[in-house]
């Protein structure tokens, strides 16, 4: 659900900034900002649904309110990266078994595929403000596994995060609420294996109805996003990404309709790509998914359908 940050508990600013504000902003009592990596959250939720091609069937079985197992079957073509402009697809099928344990203090998420790949996530609250998160993708092939550990500290109106990854990857980020609507943040990272380092800055301005975000990084990425909640059921989002090192520009515009029985997300891109994703609730616990993507430039057409059973 595309939920925006709830309105701050402090007194809101007046709508006309040029007029003397009758209510003062309490700068010592600002709300806690959202985490740095989720700064584009609303735009990502609306513009990048999980598009897929082929047939997908997910079955989630809850054994207790905290523990559930999931079985997922997927059959469809997978794209393999090719040097030529043609897309090469090979048909694949796999079964994925997963186990989730969700507790207010500890969350464990594990998925294992038929080819032996394991996807594991852990989130643990070490104390009220300090959280440990770990994430690993493990394969049987040597040197293809990745792991990352994050330590998050949540302060009164700021958040900091420290990241450690395999391949000597270090990262740190900090985000601070500057006014009840605006938060600014920065991050640095250092990748030892690829001998790369970078620094980035981000800003996020949100009100009840809209969210505007901007992010710049020394790797050459500039990302701007704007999401407007037009009504309870309709959200419009737009996104602009520019890489000043390589000169790639992508602009996309999308909509997100959250209706009573279904959720429809569609978007159109400046790369000549349009996509749509529909999730329809057929009855309690049964969802029908349709996904379609047309890439006019590469003449690549993807269609997927599926069923999700369970919460």
């Amino acid at each position: 659900m595309a939920t925006l940050v709830p309105p701050p508990a402090t007194t809101p600013e007046a709508s006309k900034p040029t007029v003397i504000e009758p209510e003062k902003v309490d700068y010592l009592n600002l709300p806690c900002p959202i985490p740095y990596e989720e700064i584009h959250r609303e735009a990502l939720i609306s513009l990048k649904p999980e598009l897929f091609e082929g047939m997908r069937f997910d079955f989630t079985k809850g054994l207790s309110p905290k523990f559930s197992l999931s079985h997922s079957v997927f059959m469809g073509p997978t794209e393999i990266p090719s040097q030529s402009s043609e897309t090469i697809k090979i048909p694949t099928a796999h079964y994925e078994f997963g186990a989730n344990f969700i507790d207010p203090k500890l969350m464990l998420f594990g998925r294992v595929l038929t080819d032996g790949r394991v996807n594991a996530r852990l989130k643990c609250d070490l104390s009220e403000n300090l959280t440990l998160k770990a994430n690993a993708q493990l394969t049987n092939e040597p040197h293809m596994s990745h792991g990352m550990v994050n330590f998050d500290y949540k302060g009164k109106d700021y958040r900091t995060q420290f990241q450690l990854g395999n391949g000597a990857l270090f990262g740190a980020s900090y985000i601070q609420s500057v006014t009840p609507h605006l938060s600014l943040g920065g991050e640095v990272f250092w990748a030892g294996q690829h001998r790369k380092s970078g620094i980035g800055y981000a800003a996020r301005y949100n009100t009840d109805k809209m969210v505007a975000t901007g992010q710049v990084a020394s790797t050459g990425m500039v990302a701007l996003g704007y999401v407007q909640k037009v009504s309870e059921k309709v959200t419009l989002a737009s996104d602009f990404m520019y890489n000043y090192m390589s000169g790639d520009v992508t602009a996309s515009f999308g909509y997100d309709y959250i209706l009573r029985q279904c959720r429809l997300r569609g978007k159109i891109d400046s790369n000549g790509c349009t996509s749509a994703f529909l999730e329809e609730r057929l009855s309690m616990g049964l969802n029908f998914i349709l996904s379609a993507e047309i890439d006019h430039r590469k003449k690549d057409y993807k269609f997927g359908f599926g069923l999700t059973v369970g919460e």
Binding site: S64, F67, L69
Partner: protein, 102 residues
């Protein structure tokens, strides 16, 4: 490995003032940490999902072993009895899904 070579080169620039034991301690530490990471990777790869299952089976309320292995979904049985006046396609689909789990 490239990082090991740079570490050794750094040690050598101090004009051999570092005694040889320190260099071997560094090498020993690196080898030991690589060994630990390799074992941790194997343990996580094979043991993470069983660990989640064990933690889940021991949490309150304790689910039984039969619930873990049986394909029946308790809450979804109600669907077969309570199909509202939905369209034909919907009721056919739900009946098909529920039948496959009996």
């Amino acid at each position: 490995m490239a990082s090991r070579v740079t570490l050794k080169a750094k040690g050598k620039t101090t004009k051999g003032s570092k005694p040889s034991e320190e260099r071997s301690t560094e090498k020993y530490l690196k080898e030991w940490s690589t060994w630990v990471m390799k074992k941790a990777k194997v343990v996580t790869h094979y043991g993470f999902i069983p660990l989640v299952i064990i933690i889940g089976m021991n949490s309150e309320p304790k689910p039984s072993l039969s619930q873990l292995l049986s394909p029946r979904l308790g809450s979804l049985i109600l669907i077969s009895q309570g199909t509202r006046d939905s369209s034909l396609l919907e009721s056919q689909l739900t009946r098909m899904v529920v039948k496959s789990f009996e």
